[in-house]
């Protein structure tokens, strides 16, 4: 029994020590914040699917910052990676929308020209 409690106590101490040695993910935080800002700048909030991922990214940032303040640095690191992935996707989706619209317009114009040519 005594040996068991010594072992359990040692393991717990080791785990705490491991957590404490993981530094706060400041670089990842800065990168994620930059990605979220970039998403806002390309108008991700105006494209429905991009806006969803921008919102998820913002929520992830907020959650990660709370985790950092509680010393949960490893969890914060992964939460920030998620946020950054969401922000990068939001950027791509926002940039895709005007290109898609332009292609639709060009296709319509071409159809009109073809129809005119047949007449």
């Amino acid at each position: 029994m005594r040996i068991k409690s010594i072992v359990t106590g040692s393991l717990a101490a080791l785990a705490l020590a491991a957590c404490a040695t993981v530094p706060a993910p400041q670089v990842r935080l800065a990168d994620s914040q930059a990605a979220v800002r970039a998403a806002g700048e390309v108008g991700a909030d105006k494209v429905p699917k991009a806006a969803l991922h921008l919102q998820l990214a913002n929520e992830g940032l907020e959650t990660a910052q709370k985790m950092i303040s509680k010393g949960q640095n490893e969890r914060a690191e992964y939460t920030l990676q998620r946020a950054q992935a969401d922000a990068e996707l939001a950027i791509a989706l926002a940039k895709l929308e005007p290109v898609r619209n332009k292609v639709l317009q060009t296709t319509e114009q071409l159809e009109q020209l073809k129809a005119k040519n047949v007449r």
Binding site: A85, V99, V103, T106, L110
Partner: protein, 278 residues
């Protein structure tokens, strides 16, 4: 003996871990990541985003590895979530590349149509030259005038049609010719004065805004203004006729401002002999 026991314990532990991994339910995030990756790799733009596809594949592999090692660890769900986003990003990158290619092809095709249309106009002008010669016009001067109005001239079943923008000829809702309109009309008078035996119909058109009756009246007055100007400049009044068509026969979509401006026009029709009229 101790070694055998050690080996037995390790093998048993690996077996247990493998059994745990296979019996653990797949987290939603990992199922989504697998589906997203499958979708991305089978999308039309997949071959155009190979670098991004590779990043997505690596991310999925990391998630699968984590799932096999420790299915219950929150890290598994995190890595799977990230893998799903990477796959969606890869697909978006592929779509972008594919759409950009499509846009280039579309613009090239439009350019070809426009060149062909210009060539068609040249052919129409050539045909008009023959008609005018046979109608005993002062060929050389008349042709030079029409060439300067190239973009406004076409040939149809009615004869030679010269289309002038209503915005250039008249102020908004007005029937008096603008001073700037006279220069263009003078060019046309010079081209037409030699065509003594050909009837000229001047047709006014409006856009679809407002009451039809009012638009027909407005377009008629405008056509008459042009006809009277031509008469002042020497064209025989008895060979001309002014007609108000109102919003009928639109040549553009009245839903846009640009379309409405295009529809507000005057058409000067130099009738070919025996030509149909509206």
């Amino acid at each position: 003996m101790k070694n055998y026991v050690k080996q037995f314990v390790s093998v048993a532990a690996c077996g247990l871990a493998a059994a745990c991994a296979t019996t653990h339910p797949v987290p939603t995030e990992l199922a989504d990541a697998r589906a997203a990756y499958g979708h991305a790799t089978s999308s039309e733009g997949a071959t155009l985003a190979q670098a991004q596809m590779h990043v997505a594949k690596t991310a999925l592999e990391a998630a699968e590895k984590q799932f096999s090692a420790d299915a219950e660890n929150p890290k598994t769900r995190d890595l799977a979530y990230i893998a799903a986003r990477k796959a969606e990003l890869a697909e978006a990158v592929g779509d972008m590349a594919r759409l950009e290619e499509q846009q280039k092809e579309g613009e090239k095709a439009i350019g070809q149509y426009q060149v062909a249309s210009g060539e068609q106009k040249d052919r129409e002008l050539t045909s008009v030259k023959k008609d005018l010669a046979s109608a005993q016009l002062q060929a050389k001067d008349a042709l030079l005038q029409l060439t300067s109005l190239r973009d406004k001239v076409k040939q149809d079943e009615r004869g030679l049609v010269i289309t002038l923008s209503g915005n250039v000829l008249f102020g908004s809702n007005k029937t008096e010719l603008l001073p700037a309109a006279r220069t263009q009309l003078d060019d046309i008078v010079r081209a037409l004065v030699g065509a003594k035996d050909q009837a000229i119909i001047i047709e006014g058109f409006t856009d679809a805004t407002g009451a039809t009756e009012r638009n027909e009246e407005l377009s008629k007055h405008r056509a008459e203004a042009v006809m009277n100007y031509f008469a002042e400049k020497g064209l025989a009044l008895e060979r001309m006729r002014a007609v108000g068509r109102g919003p009928s026969n639109p040549i553009a979509d009245n839903k846009s401002a640009e379309g409405r401006a295009t529809n507000r026009r005057v058409e000067i029709v130099v009738q070919a002999q025996g030509a149909a009229s509206r």
